[in-house]
């Protein structure tokens, strides 16, 4: 971490200005080698300075240089940002010059990594910054911002405080067994408290799934018999809204046909059972392939034909989709009705937009997207956090089971402690002294 890193901080090619950022102890020294203007060594911290970038004697660009001196900076190191006129060639040239003069090209996320390693931000915040950078929709951005503010940390800390109080009570009973005037925590006291903690953790987990929706988007599959109009429905979705051009590799293992933004959420149309394929191939695709698609989707739109009876194949499909994520869309409302269906369905056609608008509303309703936005946004949104949260819940469940099996309190406490530690890992905290402090803050014991 003794070297100075640099990278282009704005996206290349678009916008009138692009920024090259440096962080490290030699940031100012290196920029000075290629810059003519105000003496950067002498300027105050957090100032913007006018000057020019030169490659030896050749003028490269007219620039504004922001100087932010350690420690009150994002990484806590010296940071310099060069604002140049946009354009790939100029920006790349500046970057090259910096590299020639002793900078190292930053790895992805390295500025944030330094901020974390230098104690500027905690782990959850670091992860949130990463999320923010990758956020594609408004909701995802809000979620990331919220976590950066430490909302999730506060929530987890609240639950951990409850756990540590239980632990302290158990410990004080163990360390001062003859003090009958201290509340001796018994099975019957412990069970409701553990259940309460469990349900609070489960709430966060449920919300976290929403967090995942916000961050990774909602996967929608369109399934149905060949020729029923799946392809035209997809095109209608994509045509109407400006499709998000994105590389979401790693967020889903399904092939994404295209994405739109709906109510601030990213909707990914995932591999919809080969609707782009030729007719011959489509006919070979059986229920099995559809089932796979259905499993991986958050919402499944089953397309039926208004002008035909429901086939056995379609009945099978319908039953294989759980109602909570199933939307039935009956296409071809412009043709005479031959279908008869007891379930709720949305009627539409490829001519007007009535059907597709209803479909969008139905998606919002099914996933309660309108409520997610308004609730507080302390969701966990990455796999590491969700995994630890699940482990914390499992530990509480173990403790409850052990109580039920009549295990001694000392053994029961092991799982309670584990839960406390897993939650601590989420927010990157160490714990041990906290327990001893709580014991003496809350209980009256001694010789």
């Amino acid at each position: 971490m003794n070297d100075t890193i640099c990278a282009i901080s704005t996206s290349l090619g678009v916008g009138a200005i692009s920024i090259v950022r440096l962080s490290g102890k030699d940031a100012i020294k290196i920029v000075k080698k290629i810059y003519k203007g105000t003496d950067l060594d002498k300027v105050d911290s957090h100032t913007i300075n006018y000057g020019h970038i030169y490659d030896k004697n050749e003028l490269i660009d007219e620039v504004l240089v922001s100087v932010m001196k350690s420690p009150k900076t994002y990484t806590t190191e010296d940071i310099v940002e060069i604002n140049s006129h946009g354009g790939i060639n100029t920006t790349n040239k500046i970057l090259e010059l910096l590299l020639e003069n002793g900078c190292r090209l930053a790895e992805p996320g390295e500025f944030t990594k330094r901020a974390f390693l230098n104690g500027r931000i905690d782990l959850v915040e670091a992860e949130s910054v990463n999320d923010l950078i990758n956020a594609k929709t408004d909701a995802a951005r809000k979620l990331a911002l919220n976590n950066m503010g430490g909302n999730l940390t506060k929530k987890i800390e609240g639950i951990r405080n409850k756990i540590v109080e239980l632990m302290a009570n158990i410990e004080v009973n163990i360390d001062y067994p003859e003090y009958e005037d201290i509340l001796v925590i018994k099975e019957r006291d412990l069970i409701p408290k553990l259940k309460e903690i469990k349900s609070e953790l489960q709430d966060i987990l449920t919300l976290s799934k929403n967090g995942k929706l916000i961050k990774e988007g909602i996967n929608v599959a369109i399934v149905g018999k060949p020729n029923v109009g799946k392809s035209s429905l997809l095109n209608k979705f994509l045509d109407e809204d400006k499709a998000i051009v994105t590389d979401i590799a790693g967020t889903t293992r399904d092939i994404v046909e295209g994405s739109i933004s709906l109510n601030g959420f990213q909707i990914n149309f995932i591999d919809t059972a080969g609707i782009r394929e030729t007719k011959d191939v489509v006919e070979k695709i059986g229920v099995e392939k559809s089932l796979e698609t259905i499993k991986n989707a958050d919402i499944v739109i089953l397309v039926l034909n208004n002008n035909a009876k429901v086939s056995d194949y379609e009945k099978d499909l319908m039953e294989s989709i759980h109602p909570y994520k199933r939307i039935i869309y009956v296409n071809k409302s412009d043709l005479p009705t031959k279908i008869s269906l007891d379930n709720y369905y949305i009627l539409g056609n490829t001519i007007d937009d009535e059907g597709i608008n209803k479909l969008k509303k139905e998606i919002i309703k099914k996933l309660e997207l309108d409520t997610i936005i308004t609730k507080d946004m302390s969701y966990m949104s990455n796999i590491r956090q969700i995994d630890l949260l699940k482990k914390a819940i499992k530990s509480i469940v173990n403790a409850l089971n052990n109580l039920d099996a009549g295990m001694p309190i000392d053994i029961v406490e092991i799982d309670i402690t584990n839960s406390f530690n897993f939650l601590g890992e989420i927010i990157g905290d160490v714990y041990h002294d906290k327990l001893v402090d709580t014991i003496f803050a809350n209980f009256c014991v001694g010789k």
């Binding site: 974390f116 104690g119 067994p177 000392d410 053994i411 001893v436 010789k447």
Partner: protein
Amino acid sequence: MYDVIVVGGGHAGCEGANIAAKMGFKTLLLTMNKNNIADMPCNPSIGGTSKGIIVREIDALGGLMGIVADLSHFQIKMLNNSKGPAVRSLRAQADKIVYPKKMLEFLNKNKNLTIKEGLVEDLIIEDNKVKGVILSNKEKILSKTVILTTGTYLKANILRGSENVESGPHGEGRSNHLSDNLKKYGLEIIRLKTGTPPRIKYDSIDFSKMHEELGSDTFLTFSHDIKPQYKINEQQKCYLLYTNDLTHKIIQNNLKKSAMYGGFVTGVGPRYCPSIEDKVVRFSDKERHQLFLEPESIYYDEWYLQGFSTSMPKDVQEKMVHSLVGLENAVITKYAYAIEYDAINPLQIKPSLENKIITNLYTAGQINGTSGYEEAACQGLMAGINAALKLQNKEPFILKRNEAYTGVLIDDLVTKGVTDPYRMLTSRAEFRLLLRHDNADIRLREYGYKLGIITEAQMNKLREKLDNINKLLSDVKNTKLKITKEVASVFEDNDFDIPTKSLSFEELLKRTNITFNFLNHFINLDYSDEVKEQVEIELKYQGYIKKAKKEAEKLQKIEEKQIPDDIDYQKIKNIASEARQKLDLVRPKTMAQASRISGVNPSDMAILAVYLKKEYGKND
């Protein structure tokens, strides 16, 4: 010229002197008063939660505290029996006359050990190396190593209200210059405080208004080597009583008169052991506080009023005591007092208990910032062993956190330092499921044997026990219980679920409620109780024990990541300044120790790891 001089004859000093002499070194124990060897100036008990396990560890390593307590107590009990195997711990009410007498008998039997009266006021130091001690009469005594176990005697002051007397416990003399001299040699001196409750005359107590506290109805010992020496129904009783409204009112009204609240105390008192005025102030919503009356000895008639430690003036103490039900007419034989004393900052000592600044100087017990007889004794033992190892040019003996409470205690001291006198608690041991009362010998005797402080006979006894444990483990694995009508009815009688198919005894013992006692209905397994106990614990808590062992192994890997002694923390650029200061002060030996320092955050650890890798090419 001695090999080892031990300064102070308290619990740390006795163990240190005894073990160094046992390891073959010519040892001198210096005490201010031979009659005060192994004195118990405060509570009349040995052991207690987690402390009882420390006594077992001392015994497993050839120390004396366990066996002396077994020979001198008039009541013993197992605490936390129902709360789980890891937290069970013994406590004995030791006779304050008999305990020191028996201890002295053991010490006198040790032919390498000399006991002499004398007050040490200075050390002989050359090139930061200790060469001996200087007594108050200017006598110089040379030795290769020195162990300081000065207890509360360094510049001790006794406080009662505004009364402040320069005195050691019970009016004993104090050491006036030793701590100043230590300061001169570069040691940081801290000021600590502790206290003791009043003693009450036996025949002035009305026990009829109090609740009896009895000893155990089974035979128990601290020591692994002797049979119980007492008769169960001849154990002495203790008594439980409570404070009341009146007591609290007296305390509230006189608060400013107490040494603590009147601002007369400069030392920091122990959090876990608050005075009664502290309890009343801090927990003002509590209607009453629990107190115990415990006999100090069967040879005199003073009783110890546990829970009533105070620094109030004598007249207020009279009122306070007389407000208690059953003590309306009590005669106070000794008034409670607070005592302040000098100690050294334990961050200046190594895990071997050797001083970082002065070589060959060791410290143990209250001078290191701890409190309690047991905490002192285990440090004394370790200091004695390590002084001897140093003289043998061997590596120090350092117990790990997953091996012994003793290891936890010393690691806490030298890594975290102290703000108030340190008392051991079960909650300080993250591997307490491994650090049990029942397995102290299995954990530590092998070490003792290799150090030459555990005899071949003692070791053979352990080997036989281990063999039997393995035999019994395979016996229960290979024996199946067929579920006949008779068998089913036994389960039914005990309100246990009847197994649906025949099960091995091993499978049965894994059930929470099934014990060897119950299995006696079906099979006669001829093994000792302690062997059965081991097997039962091992089977019942197998999953958790395995997990703890795995965690310990994980920790071991970080423990093995050494930090070079010559590391310059000033050179690590991005580390937080608080972490840098702490690291520089503690100078941890391993990454694991570094991670336990308070104020060193995970991000500091990451930076340290990166730095080590870059500078020293290790720490993967």
